[in-house]
Assembly symmetry: C2
């Protein structure tokens, strides 16, 4: 037991659970072997799709961006510039969406960091966007640049994370230059695929230029090589604001991935019925994706789904609810109806990294993974309905994501695995600890946890009776102590830093939202 303890301490010091022995699980290129769960019949999928087409044709979408409306008009939509309304018929939608690639590959900072998107591929991203950071010792505070950098370091440290997302707003950096730091440190602290916020044309141009430099591509090659991604949230119901429309246009022109994600909370920004909320989500996602294709046929896009419900007593958003899981299963079917990659999320509404955070997150993750999601955003670190990035929750989530990665490995059935010789050797009433079959396999037979503590109550108490959150805290900060950034070409680093310095000096970019 003492030996196990020492091993466990060593593993903690090393930080990464995947290095601890246990099953050798490929965490970098995940393929989901399970057919997606279907909650809708084919007829129901068609009914929701049909309702979404009626919404787009009969009601339309308000587009608060003159250029985007012009693009819609040129593509054949019925546009009312006075009401800023765009109406699209089914044939137009079908024609535009058919041009979207069903699968694509995001280039990373090294070949093994490439992320396949679509089909049976699954990729997990870090949490993105909360204004607060929290950890058990430091408490909950407005996010800082150091918090942001530390969370990106955590994102880099675990192979089961494929995509970065600015985990917390660095509120100590001026808004006009914040985008420069967000991009610079994603590129310097990690070789994983970076995220860019749509915060105006100039900010997007700055960020994408840095990504281009970071990946060592010519302008021409960059346009044909997705290296970065963004999320565009429609202003549900049925509205695309200027910033979001601009983001779709900019990303489509730049050939970078845009995930169109309607923010359809049933009962607030979408109908209170799931079928209605899904129809609206589907309409808004199709409108955003159609715009990207109108800008540039073949622009890389994904179908984002975020349908959840609000607590009708308080209006508070809820996540990981039964309704959320149902909407996730259904959204996967709707995305596949369009032959597009599907984005879901790992979300919860808990205020602490406790049992509620874990069970709501698990509900979200099973909805995503068993619904066939390709991209799971907010995969690690999301707390409080997205208002806080938690260091402890990050580690709890990594453990859960690693368990899914292990679940994806095949259950092999052959003579050696059926092990009749070992059954004979152990014999009735015997045990398997010393059989040849066990001795050949014991080091890598099972998933070795990062966080889970399987010691008995006595040992656990002796070592401080630390609950999962307390242990997650230690793992997070030991991982940070042991962190080493990936190699970055000195010339590239210099160019990135010079670019950021110059743009800071020039005053950064206007903050449009």
């Amino acid at each position: 037991m003492a030996e196990r303890e020492r091993r466990s301490e060593r593993a903690l010091r090393r930080g990464a659970g995947s290095a601890r022995g246990g099953a050798r699980i490929e965490q970098r290129r995940l393929r989901n072997p399970f057919p997606p769960i279907r909650i809708l019949s084919d007829d129901q999928v068609e009914a929701i799709h049909g309702a979404a087409l009626r919404i787009l044709k009969e009601i339309g979408v308000r587009v608060l961006h003159d250029g985007a409306r012009s693009l819609f008009r040129a593509a054949g939509a019925e546009v009312d510039d006075g009401g800023r309304m765009v109406r699209l018929d089914g044939d137009l939608i079908a024609g535009l969406l058919a041009q979207a690639p069903p699968t694509l590959t995001l280039k990373g900072g090294s070949p093994e960091r490439a992320v396949r998107v679509g089909g049976d591929a699954v990729a997990f991203g870090t949490v993105g966007g909360p204004p607060h950071a929290s950890d058990l010792k430091g408490g909950r505070r407005p996010g800082t640049l150091e918090d942001f950098k530390n969370l990106m370091r955590l994102g880099q440290s675990f192979d089961v994370i494929h995509l970065l997302n600015p985990a917390v707003e660095p509120l100590d950096v001026p808004p006009r230059t914040r985008h420069l730091d967000l991009t610079l440190y994603q590129l310097l602290l990690s070789d994983k695929v970076p995220f860019v916020f749509c915060r105006g044309a100039q900010a997007v141009a700055d960020c994408l230029e840095m990504v281009r430099v970071g990946r060592g591509l010519t302008h021409e090659a960059f346009r044909d090589t997705p290296c970065a991604y963004t999320v565009v949230n429609t202003n549900s119901p049925l509205q695309i604001d200027a910033l979001m429309a601009q983001g779709i246009v900019d990303f489509a022109l730049a050939g970078q991935l845009v995930i169109v994600t309607p923010f359809t909370l049933a009962g607030a920004m979408a109908p209170i019925s799931l079928a209605g909320a899904l129809a609206q989500q589907h309409a808004e996602a199709m409108a955003g994706i159609a715009l990207a294709q109108a800008v540039r046929p073949g622009a890389p896009v994904a179908y984002g789904a975020f349908t959840s419900n609000v607590d009708m007593k308080s209006g508070a958003p809820a996540f990981g609810t039964p309704e959320y899981v149902k909407a996730a299963f259904a959204s996967g079917q709707l995305a596949r109806r369009l032959n597009l990659p599907w984005r879901s999320s790992n979300v919860n509404a808990s205020n602490a990294p406790d049992a509620q955070a874990a069970y709501e997150s698990q509900m979200s993750l099973w909805g995503a993974v068993m619904g066939g999601a390709n991209l799971v955003m907010h995969g690690a670190g999301w707390l409080e309905g997205g208002l806080t990035a938690s260091f402890e929750k990050f580690v709890i989530d990594v453990e859960m994501l690693q368990m899914f990665a292990a679940l994806f490995t095949p259950l092999t059935v052959n003579e050696a695995e059926l092990a009749l010789d070992a059954v004979r050797e152990a014999g009735p009433g015997g045990h398997y600890f010393a059989t040849a079959h066990t001795l050949e396999r014991y080091e890598h037979a099972f998933y070795a946890p990062l966080l889970s503590d399987w010691r008995n109550f006595g040992q656990w108490t002796e070592y401080g009776a630390k609950d999962a959150a307390a242990r997650a805290h230690e793992i997070a900060f030991r991982t940070l102590e042991a962190f080493e950034p990936p190699p970055v070409d000195p010339g590239v680093r210099e160019e990135l830093e010079a670019f950021a310095a110059r743009r800071r000096k020039e005053g950064g970019a206007a903050v449009d939202g």
Copy 2:
């Protein structure tokens, strides 16, 4: 917000979350609408089934009970009384198992407490068997009669619990009379289906007699009316001890449900490979079920699966692991191969009602529910790998089970639910709080949680920053304060109490294990 708070406090005082408003979910008769997840191909199922048949024919099972071996011999098995070995060939197994009923109904203390077993029916049971009880204030202690009674009261209080299981050993009751209290208080504090331990022929006879009296049945009717259930764990590998064999015989004769559950921890009592562990599980389950059918054709049985893995570094059992989930999916397929009801579990290895407890339990539950389990044992309250019954975990689990019950309700797609009129009414950029569609539905639109706290961080902090475990503690003890036992006919109560008193006076029953 204050109003919401008051409502929430009232709901807490009432105890049961299901009474709080929110979706009207049928929790008493759950049907799983999702086709079970398949992790094995049909060929793989046949390969494991074939390996299990080879184990039973070539190696055999050691049966430490003379009468059981005689029954096997009479049925046509090859029996070696010297080595106490029983070998069964495939035809014999197939013939015996074909007599087992694929579905059955357990009678409860009132018509609505009947539990359908098999097909797409799902039933959840309380935790059963831990020697310790724990709650955040009282700490961890050896179980008492009062703990046992309180946990049975909790089991009675939530409709999503269908089956009782003695949640903790009342160690303050002498072993010779403990079975009397376990049965008496299951029958007096609840009208749900009771559990009986296999602790020797006399103890089982006492308990079943009490159940018969409790249900008001003649001896003859009782034999044809399953009213109680037990779990028989084989002594893996490949051994059925005297107590377990006696239990199978007694329950089969009495026409009561026996769940045969091999205790196959891969790497310890079963091969370290999942395919091997599953083959052994399948062999042991078939042997136990065959014995029941040899005793009485058509005896009610279920296929129990408990395959998990040990931590190969310490030998500690692990639960809710990726391997556990895979084994669950596969076990469902193997049980369905035999056309038998399948029993799985809600298990975890955490020492505290924390995030680990929740995510390991969720993994177990998804493995069970999406694997098509009919009976989910240890559904509420299990902690520490089964060594502790936790009051807080009980409430956390009830919340999770209720979410599954809500997930089972259909996602309706029709004109009213697609809500195009509401989309028109809200309009682009509007909101749905006040639409007619919302106002008609808001009271029961969504699952209303028992435990989850969706208040914002400020409100949550103001009300004490209680994490899920702290809130679960309050809910558990408020539920107990509000507890009212179900009506029990005074004559029946008197007869039960007189029976227990007499049997106590007579010295109870020998404790064989």
